[in-house]
Every structure is written in C-alpha cells, then in structure tokens.
Amino acid sequence: MTAVVELRGVSREYEDKRGTIALRNCTLTVNDGDFLTVVGPSGSGKTTLLNIVGLLDSPTSGSYALRGSDTSSMSEKIRSRTRGEMVGFVFQSFQLLEQRSCLENVMLADLYTGASERDSRSNALRALESVGLADRAGSLPTELSGGQRQRVAIARALAGDPAILLCDEPTGNLDSRTAESILALFLALNETGATIMLITHDRAVASLGNRRVEMLDGVLSEAV
C-alpha cells in the first residue's frame, strides 16, 4: 500500500502574542484508498492539520511528504502546482462562485494546471456525473439545494483527479438527511479508490471512515 501523506513529528506554532501551538509533534500516514477521519473539538488543531496536508500552510518543524516528495524543499510555485494537481478541497461553506454555473465552478479545478478548456469541460462533466449532477451542469449554485451545492463542490475537488480529497466539516452546513447522502457519496467514492481525509467534530460522522484519528490540543492520536 502506497503512502499518500506522511507526516513525521510535525508541529505548527504561530507567531502571535501567545505563541499558540496548533500542532504538537504529529505523526500520521495516509495510504492510498484510506478514508481517514480526524475528529476533535473546535480549536483542537484539525483545520491546521488539514491546511498543512493541503499545502496551504507549512509546519514549523517536522517533515511532510506528499506522494513521497518532501514538501519542505518545495518553492511556492511548486507547492501551488502540487496543490492544484494532487489535492482536492471540500469546504464546509462549499466555496462556489454564485454567478457561475455548476459546470464553470467545476472547471475551475484545473484552470491553473494548464488544461485546455475542452479537456477541462470534459473532466468537469465527468466529475458532475460522478456526483449525480450532470443534468444541473448549466444551473447556478443559487438554484440548487445545500446538498446539491456540496455535491458540486465535491465534483470540483474530484475533477482534477487528485491524490487525496481533503474535506473540512463537509456536512457542517447541511441538515442530517442531506448530510447522510453526502457521507454516502464519500463512502461510494472511497470504494472506487478515492483517498479521503475528512475532519469533523461529529463522532458519528467520524465513525464512517475506515480509519479515525483524534485531536486534542494539537496532539494527534490514532483511535483503535
């Protein structure tokens, strides 16, 4: 089994007045095909962990390798390219551009990787189809329900064929019934081979993954 994410003794300290330490000596491996959930209360460091794995932030100590490449030596340009090509983000608030159609939103996925418009359109349509929204490609996000919007956001994350999907409280803004359908979609995607790392404060949601880690005060511990 190949490791997608390998964190070794990662810490993240902020240079604020209090010298906040968001992550403390975290070690974590996420393998191909894993559905890893990270559970913990607010302020426990979950989002910081996700930002580091998604190359939006850098550890102040420790090492992080993505698909075997040490990220600490990457320039900003390489980090951006790697992020665009290997990471798919799903946010709690969907982060869709409301004036753009669903298709155009999903096509943003490979805008910065050099894909042609034709390839991008084809990838986006395939991704929308995989989340069951091919027929809403031309709709505006404002015309969709919350669950459908999150599906569009998932399609955008999938369109670039990433090595890992990073999901930040993806059901946090949804009612329980819609949340179930989104979680079911994640399970289905995982069954087809998608590697998923999902952070949540909801233990019920966290129990759906095949692996679960817990965070408290920046310390990571793998649940048995």
Binding site: L56, R83, L97, L111, Y112, T113, A115
Partner: protein
C-alpha cells in the same frame, strides 16, 4: 512558459471577464465613472480644437485691418502735424477703405443744460474727429445721422448710446442740445455699436474743423486711424508715411497691430493648458473610481481568492486576473467615454454654431487611455489581492 505557471491566457481572460459580469452593477458604475472621466477628456480636447478653430476664424475676420499713424513730437511746433489733405492722400493708397484724424479734447464739462457751473455727469471723453472717423471705426447708428464734410465746421455732436442715456438724450432726430464747456452742440446721432473700436460708444465726438476752431490746433496729439482691406495693412503701413509727407516720412510713426496668428497662438496655448488640466482631473477621477472599485472587489472576493489559491493559483495569477479586470473596465469605460465625448463636442459646437473639430486619434485614444488608466488604477488592488494567503482567506 514554465510548467509551474501554466495557464491558458484565454481562460484567464475569460475568468477576468466573468469577474466583471459577476458584479455587474458595480462594474457598470465603474465603467460609467471611467466613461465620464475619459469622455470629459475627449470632450475637452474636441471643444478646445473647435474653439481654437473658431478663434482662428474670428481672428481672420478681424485680421489686422487697422493702421495707426502718429506724428513724432517736434518741439516748438505749433501747427497741426498732419498736413491738410493727408486723409485724401492716404485714401488714394490701394487697400485703404477709410482714414480719419482724431484727437482728445481737453474738456472740463459736458451737460444737458446751460449755463453750468459743473458737469451734469462725470465728464465723458470728448473726441474731435474728421468725418471719415465713422467709417474707420465701423460705427452703426442707434438714431440720427453721422456728420459729413458739410457739417464739419458746425457745432454738432455724435454721442455713444451709454452717454446719451446719461445726458437724457433719447432721440437724435430732434437734435437735442448738449453743452460742452458751455458751448451748445446739437446731437445729430447716437452710436450703438462700433466694430473696430469701443471709444465712440462712451464718448462725445465732434467734428474736427469746429473743434480746431474752438479748442485750437491739436499739435502732435492727433492720430490718424486707417481701416484697410483684409491683408492690405502691411502694404498700407509701408506707404502711409510717404503719402502724408513725401519730404519727411520719418516724422510719422506708423503702428499696426501684431499679426493675428501671434495673438491667436497665445490664446490657444493658454486655453489649451487650462482645458488639458481640466481634462486630466476628469481622467484622475475615473482612475480613482476604478481603483476604488477594484479594491472593494478584492475585499469582497477574499474567499474566492482563497479558493483559487487552493486550486493551485499563484499570486501572480490572482494579480493578473484583477489587473485584466481593471484594464477591461478601463477599455470599456474609455470606449464609452470616447463616444460620450464626441457627442458632447458635437452638441457644444452645434449650440455655439461652431464647426465641430474632433481629432481622429481621439476616437482610439479613449479605449487606449482607458486601458492605461485601468491598469494603473488596478495595480495596487491587484497587488493586495496577490498577497492574500489562502489560510487567511478561509479564516475570514
């Protein structure tokens, strides 16, 4: 293009265009603001050109047609320095339309009643002039008539309309009497306009022969004014002194107005400077509008910037998108402004009955200037946008 900065330019332009239409009301207002700035610039240029063209035409219309001759003061001389028959000699020069000799009279009082101890009105200027004076100054009558050679030795007067009112002279047909230093003069005409001089409008003018008999010889105070055909003033000026006194032409100083082109150029230059300054203010206002709108756009789109960064956008991709948006707003505003400006020039020219003059390059200058203004105004907001870190963007 390196592999790390791969992005299809057309797709980036498409994103920028979408960014403009995304907030269409804000973009529309920004474009209108820019259009007003650029439009005022184009309009000012056009109105300036049209006005200058009009000034040229009007200067041509009054092109140096007035030549003035003054005797050079000769100490001890007690005679009138223009020999008799001077006007006839000058009249015979080709290109001379009219010539007249005139001088100011040392008058103490002018009034409507006699006897007087003081002037009824503040003493107006009193001029003694030969009959040719009226043709020389291009005067027109409100009422009455001008005097001629027959009346030149009679106590008659022509008054300007303004003076006539002050003297309570309403109609010259009745030939009312006014008193100059106690001497009665019949007012035979009231002048209401003079194309070449303002003097007769605010003066009392009496015939030269009578004035000479009453006040004495003017000596070297007399002036000869000559009205010439357009373009003939140079030739007339060269010949006039010789025509007056062939033996002593150096006894006369001949003055002619500066060429109209010099005056015109001075006026054009000063008006253009002023108008350009006004136009520049308009453009700056447009630029501030774009900068303001772009900055607000950046602030309101921080989550979008974060999203784009999470999708692999480099800071320079973000900067490029916002710069293109600002430039496109500028181009659209500039194109609209050019049209608005040209219409404004046409309206102003039409209302003033001028010939509208629009420089051909100004049609293209609008969009180009708009692009430059947009790019310049978009630099700071674009830089701000590119500096937003994705983590900070998602935290907001």
């Amino acid at each position: 293009m390196s592999s790390v900065s791969r992005i299809h330019v057309l797709r980036l332009i498409g994103e920028a265009m979408a960014g403009i239409t995304q907030k269409s009301s804000r973009s529309t207002l920004t474009i209108i603001g820019t259009a007003l700035g650029i439009g005022s610039f184009i309009a000012v240029l056009g109105v300036t050109s049209s006005a200058n063209s009009q000034i040229s035409e009007e200067f041509a219309a009054v092109e140096a047609t007035q030549v003035t001759v003054q005797p050079v003061a000769s100490p001890g001389s007690s005679t009138r320095d223009f020999p008799s028959g001077s006007e006839f000699a000058v009249d015979s020069i080709k290109g001379v339309r009219a010539a007249a000799i005139w001088w100011d009279l040392p008058v103490e009082s002018v009034g409507a009643f006699a006897p007087i101890s003081s002037s009824d009105i503040s003493t107006p200027r009193v001029i003694a002039a030969s009959p040719g004076y009226w043709a020389t100054v291009g005067a027109t009558l409100y009422s009455g008539r001008f005097y001629d050679d027959f009346l030149a030795d009679k106590p008659v007067a022509i008054v300007g309309l303004q003076i006539a009112k002050q003297l309570h002279v309403e109609d010259a047909a009745e030939q009312p009497v006014i008193f100059i230093d106690g001497v009665p003069f019949s007012v035979i005409g009231i002048v209401d306009n003079a194309a070449n001089s303002n003097a007769p409008l605010s003066a009392v003018v009496v015939p030269d022969v009578f004035a000479e008999a009453m006040f004495g010889d003017p000596g070297d105070q007399a002036t000869m004014t000559i009205d010439t055909d357009r373009g003939a003033s140079d030739v007339v000026a060269q010949q006039v002194a010789l025509a007056i006194d062939p033996k002593h032409p150096e006894s006369y100083r001949v003055l002619k107005p500066p060429p109209p082109s010099v005056v015109r150029d001075k006026i054009s230059s000063s008006t253009q400077g002023l108008f350009f300054a006004l136009a520049a203010i308009g453009v700056i206002v447009g630029a501030v509008g774009i900068a303001n709108s772009s900055l607000i756009s950046v602030m309101s789109r921080i989550p979008e910037i974060g999203l784009r960064r999470s999708l692999g956008a480099l800071p320079r991709h973000i900067a490029a998108q916002f710069l293109i948006e600002a430039a496109v707003r500028g181009v659209l505003g500039g194109a609209l402004g050019a049209n608005v400006g040209i219409v404004a020039v046409a309206v102003v020219a039409l209302s003033q009955r001028w010939t509208a003059v629009v420089e051909p390059w100004s049609i293209f200058a609008g969009p180009i200037l708009g692009a430059v203004v947009g790019l310049a105004a978009g630099l700071y907001p674009a830089r701000r946008a590119s500096q937003i870190e994705p983590v900070e963007a998602f935290r907001l």
